[in-house]
Amino acid sequence: MTTIAELPPGFADKVLSAQSTFRSVMDAMARPGSVQRIVPTSGAPQTMMRGTAAIALTLFDHDTPLWLDARMSESTDVMKWLKFHTGAPVVQDSSIASFALISDGGELPSLERFALGTSEYPDRSTTLILQVENLDSGRSFELRGPGIDGVATLQASIKPFDLFERLRVNETLFPRGVDVVLVADDAVVAIPRTTRVVSKGS
């Protein structure tokens, strides 16, 4: 059994690390496709990348129901770490989750199963935090939309392979939709619901 003393630690400086992490995520969200770095480090349970851990410590609390994919929810270390450091309730029903943590993109459920917001309150939607292999090489994607000066190019190795095809629901649902934050180690890229992605192949 893990005791609290054995849990990986949170941020050394809660306040300034959270601020720095938030600015990276905010810049990522404001400039879709741009790769932002998360500087502060904290401990992280296995299956959770350090970028994901920093985002969790920065944005999660008792007000944010979390949905975890199978690989994460099977790990008692992840559950205990999240509970101790963030206090966020873990829910089984993905349609009421503020955030979803996905470590195994291949098993990403249908996007319609997450909260998509309502027409009156489109902000009441799930933010997906999706761990991916890397955000600096792999297939090229062409991104357009608010926050992008013309066209942005993202190179990334992402599972599921058809993520951006699946994100097209954001186009028809807008202003409802899901926002995605891709994490690879300490790198983050955000794909808010306004971003339109065209695959350019390899």
């Binding site: 809660k14 306040v15 300034l16 959270a18 601020q19 720095s20 938030f22 600015r23 995520v25 905010m26 969200m29 404001a30 400039r31 920065t58 944005l59 999660f60 609390d61 007000d63 944010t64 503020s98 309502t118 027409s119 009156e120 309150y121 489109p122 902000d123 939607s125 933010t127 608010p146 926050g147 992008i148 000066d149 013309g150 807008f174 202003p175 926002d179 808010p192 619901r193 306004t194």
Partner: protein
């Protein structure tokens, strides 16, 4: 013992998390007003409590903060907020637009073009552009949901019917990313074109009304108008009396009780920068100084 009894940048961490989550959703849905649990701040509503909370949630020790009130760095509101963050967050402050990383503003956008490493935080009194046309929140929510903005066009049309032109001079409604109609806060409509395709992130905070909204960088922002009555920014037809600028937004200052007046740049940093660069207007003190110099030399 003088240890501060408050957190970095005043707000507690739980409040910052809540505001930060609202900011992320606001950026993801440009122009949409995200409700947030606005806190009481150590200043009254109407003094920028919304802008202060947004600034407090984003500000870090490396930031350089500029605060303006109607374009001026030197008014009570601007100085108070600047000192508030210098004290509670220990951040560097500046009056120079290009040196700032975070600019909190009440009712103006700086004349100097903003760049990509800046965030502009607006203080907003009434975030709902339809509020004076439809007082019920349930109804305005539905109108935004359906993108039903006919009422706003009727309002602008009535302006034309009554005055011959669109008489709305400030808080002029804009459409963001071809979807949400948004109140740009009571900035003069002169500033509206600066919001379009701006390289800086623009965040809006309304403390009393508990709303946060945003315009991401490089986002289309269009002022509402009609084909036969296109949007026109308004400016007094005069050069600045201090720096002779022909293209800046001007304040009218009454100088006596006989109808005397002068027009000066509302953006004090821009005006001072121009004067330092040698531009002098008709009422600039500099020519008199030069003359006094000549007189003493001669």
């Amino acid at each position: 013992m003088n240890a501060p009894a408050y957190n970095f940048a005043y707000l507690d961490e739980q409040t910052k998390r809540m505001i930060r989550r609202a900011i992320l959703k606001a950026i993801a849905i440009p122009g949409y007003q995200v409700p947030f649990a606005s806190r009481e701040m150590p200043m009254p509503y109407g003094w920028g409590t919304g802008g202060v909370q947004v600034t407090a949630a984003i500000l870090g020790p490396q930031d350089v903060l500029k605060v303006i009130d109607q374009g001026s760095d030197d008014t009570t509101n601007a100085i108070s907020i600047r000192k508030f963050f210098a004290k509670t967050a220990g951040v560097a402050t500046t009056t120079a637009t290009e040196d700032a990383t975070v600019i909190q503003t009440r009712h103006r956008i700086p004349e100097t073009s903003l760049h990509a490493n800046q965030v502009l935080v607006y203080q907003v009194p009434i975030p709902e552009p339809l509020r004076f046309l439809e007082p019920r929140e349930t109804e305005t929510r539905r109108m935004h949901a359906l993108a039903e903005y006919g009422l706003m066009h009727v309002k602008l049309y009535e302006d034309i019917a009554r005055f011959g032109h669109i008489a709305t001079a400030y808080a002029y409604p804009v459409k963001v990313n071809a979807r949400y109609v948004m109140d740009p806060s009571p900035t003069p409509k002169f500033d509206n074109p600066k919001m379009d395709n701006c390289p800086a992130l623009q965040l809006f905070g309304a403390g009393r009304e508990k709303r946060i909204y945003a315009i991401p960088p490089y986002t289309q922002v269009v002022s509402l108008d009609f084909e036969d009555h296109p949007f026109e920014p308004y400016r007094f037809n005069a050069p600045c009396a201090l720096c002779a600028a022909e293209n800046s937004y001007l304040d009218e200052i009454v100088t006596d009780d006989k109808g005397g007046r002068m027009f000066v740049c509302s953006d004090t940093d821009y005006c001072e920068g121009r004067q330092a660069a040698g531009h002098h207007g008709s009422l600039s003190a500099a020519p008199y100084k030069d003359k006094a110099q000549e007189a003493s030399n001669g």
